[in-house]
Symmetry: D2
Subunit: 138 residues, 4 copies
């Protein structure tokens, strides 16, 4: 059983562009904020022995968004590997139910002090698996 | 035969984050600047009947970059479809030759006046094909 | 009598810089968000005959802020002129009570259709005066 | 005798907003880039004993700018105090000669290791005075 982690973001005027809508680069701000809060929730006591490095992110732009809107960002876990895990992130308009953008982000566990990638700690693995999506998602 | 379109970008201090390096969201600014200049070069006379909408972008983060560096962004064409085309974009450090990040961006041709996707105009298709990579790239 | 307009902003990791704190440019995002919401509150039904153009803004940086914090932005009106008005904006840490930054922003009323500055409409003037600070503020 | 320090900046599409022009917050990116390069030029060998902290900045918006433009940012020194100095920064369109925005930025010398403000080092004072504007500037 899984429940998506959800946050709401207010779309700032500065995050739009001259086409009148939210600029393609701004969505990554929303995805990063959601991942950060997700990590804070599942691992509030994280210390400097465990950092998260973004290895890759792919965003698909499905519908436009506009200044002044409040959007919802839902974050789930798609896959848990040995040293890395993959998150699925969806941005929706709560008012219309329309999906604005979808991302897939791969994050690697890293020890900054030793400057090397590390295995996902067992405690984190359990938390991630609680947010794992089972079955088809789209 | 193909030559990559190349630009240089200066890394601003504001584009770094508290980990001391360039934030993951900043790379999309560099990729967008490179695509914009690429479009301007191959189609300087573009009018409002032809807009480019980003359908998706995937970025892989390979090495860190830092404030004050000047990086090179190389843009090529990977695939030309009916209404959309795919670009390959690479960010390198010209000093070390190290690849910092790689992106793949899918762009759709769009007519804003009629609010619909359109086929790639023939003149643009020829220009894109001049930047098409042939053979294996990585 | 006056009550400041208040909003809370979450400090994103992308808004920090390599010095480990919030970058000087990011504060203007928070000030803009607060002004936008202030305008929305006092004039929810604003149409295209009335735009607000920022004529100047001055920010004083008093203390550092960091990723993950939630800050409060308070907006008041300092002065109401004929065509422009001046707002005072303060960013505080609600946890410590410490002031992080203070701004003074001058906004001009503008009619985009006619492309000219206009007098502050009477209805807006009354709303602005409700948020006018009387007496010494600092 | 004085010569302004000058850089050119390309206006990115992401730096515009839904009003079709450069967003008010983006100008601070250009001013920061110019100050950073100015410091690099006058003090290339600066080490960690000397940091520059922005104490305040005021920007006046005089004319609009648009995506794809290349603007010039000129930086001069207005005043050299004991621990701080004031810079004047102007953003112009090289094509039209029109002034887009003007800023005044106060910077304080700081020793991060000892976490305290320090007097302007003599060597820096001389460099700053070479860029000091004499006489009326506006």
């Amino acid at each position: 059983m899984t429940t998506a982690h959800e946050i709401e973001v207010y779309i700032r005027f500065a995050e739009t562009d001259a086409l009148g809508h939210v600029n393609n680069t701004s969505y990554f701000l929303y995805f990063e904020e959601a991942r950060t809060k997700f990590f804070k929730e599942i691992l509030p006591e994280r210390n400097k022995n465990l950092s998260f490095i973004l290895a890759s992110i792919k965003c698909q732009y499905l519908n436009q968004a506009f200044a002044g809107q409040t959007l919802r960002v839902c974050t789930n876990v798609l896959k848990v590997g040995t040293k890395s895990f993959t998150m699925s992130q969806t941005i929706l308009s709560p008012d219309t139910g329309i999906t604005i953008a979808e991302a897939e982000a791969v994050t690697v566990c890293f020890n900054y002090l030793e400057q090397k990638t590390i295995s996902i700690p067992e405690r984190l693995r359990l938390k991630l698996e609680n947010h794992l999506i089972v079955g088809p998602i789209y």
